[in-house]
Amino acid sequence: MMALLTVNNLCTTFSTPEGVVRAVDGVSFSLERGEALGVVGESGSGKSVTVMSLMRLIATPPGRIESGEAIFEGRDLLKLPEANLRSIRGDEIAMIFQDPLTSLNPFLTVKRQLTEVLETHRRMSPKKALTESIHMLELVGIPSPAKRINDYPHEFSGGMRQRVMIAMALLCRPKLLIADEPTTALDVTIQAQILELIADLRHEFGTTVILITHNLGIVAEVCDHVAVMYAGKIAEYGKMGEIFVRPRHPYTQGLLRSLPRLDEKRAARLESIVGQPPDLTLLPTGCAFHPRCEVKSEHCLREFPSAVRFGDHHYAHCWHAEDRS
């Protein structure tokens, strides 16, 4: 079967006073129907810009999609006329953002914001749109949805607000759901509930998911594939299980070491990767990770590593990936 989404060599730049920043630099991946892809990396690694580019929601200027293609069911999202794209957004591809408080309009009731989506894409009668919205709120676990739907966003708690956002995203039963750090703004117990909800709904609707996070632990709960991003590039890509068991890129290994583990008896001090995420205006030569890398060699300073494959669906961009299995 054809992949739902195939991204090839996506490059997005920003013109800043410090110079042109390559926020996304040659990202390629492919998503099968029903798959859940986790995109991980420290903040600033280009995760959001990648998905915003797919939706063509990059503010231009300062941003610009330089090159690449994103084939979604045979259509290139990056070349589609704006009007066609608008009918895809929210209908076939929906998004959930990090902060549910700021992603809902404080001046409109939840009802208005939910029915707006259905009106835009489905031309539903107001009554039908309302019934549908209430039903969706119920599915995402909002108690007494028929009543709460008339409330304003600030009358909901953080977790409930994110549920509203999820309901809004799923209203049109999108084929692809993009969640950009959906739990970062929430506290830990709520985080778990929201992730569980996303995982449940994903199976219920058969939705394909891209889940962005800077926490590999979260990926483990929902996703079956992982793309690790560093400085605008995919450093390593593979099946969830393989990445966790046999990470090949030193950066992935570092991310994994910084996870708290349940199986460790003593509370070992979490190792975090030494050094700072790179300044994109002053990228190091060769492999951008080399200043923080423990295994770097002279080669890493000179040339960006080509992909080293480990089976069909696992690759890492590291000159030393082979020796570190």
């Binding site: 929906a94 001046f107 409109l108």
Partner: protein, 294 residues
């Protein structure tokens, strides 16, 4: 006691919408409340003056020329024997009408213009705002006076001339607001849901900028009234037999030494009106956004 206060505070925080908060703050501001009562009173008087006043505005009485204020004519009469109380409130009526209409015109133009510029940003924004800057640079009064002298002293032209220049500031304010609101995630979220640009501008952006828009609109009313008064004072505005507070004051000024009440009453009413509108606008600004306070 304090814990009860704290609890009710929290409930207030949760229950009250932004508007309710603003209303509570406004109620505490005595000057603003007094001003709003005055404004409402003036409005009602201006509307009801034909019913309340026993004297028509333009009835000439040669037997009561230039009478000082007395029990029959509270504000005295003018040199044609017309009752000044009636004329003052008729004048107020015209002044308010000019102020409101011109404000409405500039409100409509300014809000849409500013919102479009702020929403699209980039080149569109640069071009649109450069135009505003250029018009802004023209001497304002000079422009209005030229328009008035070219197209004649028509009240409609007066409305439009004043409205056409006062939308500039509104456009700037709205554009600034929209520019910052556009950065907010809910606008991005609306876009990611495929909502049309027009809907985003009118349903998501403008309502969120409503606070400053309302405040500036309120403050624009006295400003346009003052402009109208000034133009009428120069003889460019309202023409007799119609009268505005400005043209009344102008008439009164020419006979100031003999009949001082002719300028006194329209002048005082104009001053009170402007003070009240300004205080109300300031109060509204403080209530809607305490951080905007200068």
């Amino acid at each position: 006691m304090s814990s009860i206060a704290a609890v009710s505070d929290i409930q207030l925080e949760k229950k009250s919408s932004l508007w309710l908060d603003a209303w509570c703050r406004l109620k505490k501001n005595k000057m603003a409340m007094v001003s709003s009562f005055l404004v409402v009173a003036f409005f009602l008087l201006a509307i009801a003056v034909p019913i309340l006043s026993p004297f028509p505005i333009d009835e000439v009485h040669y037997d009561s020329i230039g009478m000082a204020p007395n029990t029959l004519h509270w504000f005295g009469t003018d040199i044609l024997g017309r009752d000044m109380l009636a004329r003052t409130f008729y004048g107020l009526r015209i002044s308010l009408a000019v102020g409101l209409t011109a404000t409405l015109v500039s409100f409509a133009i300014g809000v849409v213009y500013g919102a479009v510029a702020g929403f699209y940003g980039g080149k569109v924004d640069a071009l649109m705002m450069r135009f505003v800057d250029v018009v802004y640079g023209l001497p304002y009064m000079f422009f209005v006076i030229i328009v008035m002298s070219v197209f004649g002293n028509n009240i409609l032209i007066l409305f439009m001339a004043i409205g056409a220049v006062s939308w500039l500031t509104m456009a700037r304010i709205v554009r600034g607001q929209v520019l910052s609101i556009s950065q907010k995630e809910f606008v991005e979220a609306a876009r990611s849901c495929g909502v049309r640009n027009r809907t985003i501008i009118f349903r998501h952006l403008i309502p969120n900028a409503l606070g400053p828009i309302i405040v500036y609109t309120t403050l624009m009313v006295p400003r346009t009234i003052l402009v109208e008064a000034f133009l009428s004072f120069l003889g460019l505005g309202i023409q007799p037999p119609q009268a505005s507070l400005g043209s009344l004051a102008s008439d009164g000024a020419s006979a100031m030494d003999l009949y001082p009440w002719l300028i006194l009453f329209p002048g005082v009413v104009l001053a009170i009106l402007l003070f009240a509108l300004n205080y109300f606008g300031d109060g509204l600004r403080d209530a809607l956004d305490p951080r905007m306070k200068k």
